[in-house]
């Protein structure tokens, strides 16, 4: 199958096609990336680069406070953001895309409406939701009380048990258009004859979804999952707007990018650049590692199914 799929493009031609992107990418992404990597291998005095210290910054990150306890905590929160995004944002997105796919008349309207939050600057989104959820003025709690659900009313962002889930939900609310559109586009480019055949065989709509449509969507699901993972690991504006640079309350919404931000700009530590660069490199390595492993595993699953 794979031999037939990839209509061979001669390598020289392929390289020629790659050249413009590679040049731009090399100069403005790879080169700065490599430079940034070296930052983490030096000790710093303020803005002045001092001695080469090898992996000392990384060792400090894993063995000294506050990093030793904050790093795993932040990572765990990023992981929860990812899990939450997969469960809430991506499955809702897929479901909506599937429901809308068969309702051509209203599809575009709802696609536009659901993607609206994505168009608004994330900082505004954070500000608006903290207003909406404010225990003093927020209409969310007021509405709950009015509905007789006063016991459900919470200091949403003030309680460590709910704050991170608010971040998950607000993120999902803003980003649901992303899976919705991507899955929408993917559903549109699928071969409709398979589903028609299944329908003629008498499969129910649920069966058609699970056994016909979903397997065909797998490559796109893989892509969306990897992208979601990356976005979740790098989440910044929404956690920052909802919990501040310390991940309030009491560190419950602290994530990696906030840890980086604090280490780099909110401390009087002399070696701030060295340590914060190490934080970013660790994050980078984890994202790359997990993404590569996931992609490999996913390709295997895909091959097993087709």
């Amino acid at each position: 199958m794979s031999g037939r799929r990839t209509a061979a493009l001669p390598t020289p031609v392929a390289l020629l096609f790659l050249l413009p992107a590679a040049a731009l990418f090399g100069i403005f992404v790879l080169y700065p990336m490599a430079t940034a990597l070296t930052y983490s291998l030096f000790s710093w005095r303020g803005t002045a680069q001092e001695a080469f210290v090898g992996l000392d910054n990384f060792v400090a990150l894993f063995t000294t406070e506050p990093y030793r306890s904050q790093l795993p905590r932040a990572f765990a929160h990023n992981a929860l953001l990812f899990a939450g995004a997969m469960v809430v944002q991506n499955s809702v997105g897929l479901l909506l895309a599937y429901v809308l796919h068969r309702r051509e008349r209203v599809r575009r309207l709802f696609q536009v409406l659901y993607t609206m939050p994505y168009l608004v600057s994330p900082l505004v989104v954070g500000y608006l939701w903290s207003l909406l959820l404010s225990p003093l003025f927020g209409p969310v709690n007021a509405a709950l009380r009015a509905l007789g659900l006063g016991s459900v009313a919470q200091p949403w962002l003030g309680d460590p048990d709910t704050a991170l889930w608010v971040v998950v939900l607000v993120t999902a609310w803003q980003w649901v258009g992303f899976p919705l559109l991507i899955y929408g586009a993917a559903l549109g480019s699928l071969d409709p004859t398979m589903e028609e055949a299944a329908m003629l065989d008498g499969a129910t709509s649920r069966q058609r979804f699970w056994h016909v449509t979903l397997p065909m969507l797998l490559p796109v699901i893989g892509t969306v999952s990897v992208l979601t993972f990356i976005f979740s690991m790098e989440a910044f504006p929404i956690p920052y707007a909802l919990g501040g640079s310390n991940g309030s309350p009491a560190g419950a919404t602290d994530v990696m990018s906030l840890l980086f931000y604090r280490t780099a700009f909110n401390s009087g530590a002399s070696n701030a650049i060295g340590i914060s660069s190490a934080v970013a490199i660790v994050l980078f390595v984890v994202i790359v590692g997990v993404s590569v492993l996931f992609t490999r595993w996913f390709r295997k699953v895909e091959r097993g199914l087709t």
């Binding site: 392929a14 990336m33 430079t35 930052y39 429901v99 003025f137 991507i182 549109g188 910044f236 980078f284």
Partner: protein
């Protein structure tokens, strides 16, 4: 019954999704005093003052043009080069290509914060700091990983028979790409354009660090810098945000039409 339930859910969620835009628009018609006293109230005596102030005082027109130029140029540039690259990656069997793809995608995973300082020094050295050109090149470059990733996934899904047919007809690779693949991949292109255009349009981080010259500011950095802290005019800020968001809504309406048109074209074959 079930249909009705589906519609209730669809419309109900649509209302929730629209909420921020509504609040933004409402608040832009309210005075600062009203906003401070009651952050989420309705406009009592709607006023357009905030819009006038945003347009005149925030030199909105300059920033607006810069934003249009920077965002459009960088999205066009990145989408064009990414399409070519994605085609190469999706249709080549060389092992080298797999490695190159991984390198591209790794760009997605680089925390932006870390890269910004080296990028600044790079632009500074080649004389592109504080220029729109510098900003366009950086935005285009950082968009490549996402665009390549999404586009190559879509290209891999497309059947190769059409290309084979074109090749048998004697078309070269570029021609095949242009006349056969491009129409098919249009929904994916529209998707990529939307998901790159929006964040670049809304981004203030890069221009904030890379641009020090007011004449080169883009809309978000102009707004955030001009209005700075919460203490100043919120209603003007909301008015600015409404004007800043409108082009995105327009783009989006056009883009979804493209997506739908592309889908229909794709299915018609």
């Amino acid at each position: 019954m079930k249909r009705a339930a589906v519609h209730v859910v669809l419309w109900g969620y649509a209302a929730v999704a629209l909420l921020p835009l509504l609040i933004m628009v409402w608040n832009s018609f309210r005075s600062d005093q009203e906003l401070v006293a009651e952050p989420l109230g309705l406009p009592v005596s709607p006023s357009f003052d905030a819009y006038q102030e945003a347009w005149v005082e925030a030199s909105f027109s300059t920033y607006f043009l810069n934003s249009v130029l920077v965002t459009t140029a960088s999205v066009v540039l990145s989408t064009a080069v990414s399409l070519l690259a994605a085609y190469a990656l999706a249709r080549s069997r060389s092992r080298l290509m797999g490695v190159i793809e991984q390198v591209f995608v790794s760009g997605l995973m680089m925390p932006v914060f870390l890269m910004i300082v080296p990028i600044f020094y790079l632009l500074d050295r080649v004389g592109l700091a504080s220029t729109r050109t510098g900003l366009i090149l950086v935005y285009a470059a950082v968009s490549i990983p996402f665009s390549v990733f999404v586009l190559s996934t879509f290209l891999r899904q497309l059947p190769v028979e059409l290309e084979d047919a074109a090749r048998i007809d004697g078309a070269g690779p570029l021609r095949t790409f242009w006349s056969v693949l491009l129409p098919l991949v249009r929904p994916a292109v529209a998707t990529v354009v939307v998901f790159r255009f929006v964040p670049i349009w809304n981004d203030f981080f890069y221009p904030l660090i890379l641009v020090r010259d007011r004449a080169q500011y883009t809309l978000p950095v102009g707004l955030t810098t001009f209005f700075g802290e919460y203490q100043t005019s919120w209603s003007t800020l909301f008015a600015g945000l409404v004007i800043a968001t409108l082009p995105l809504v327009l783009l989006f309406l056009v883009a979804t039409r493209q997506i739908v048109a592309g889908l229909t074209a794709g299915m018609g074959r």
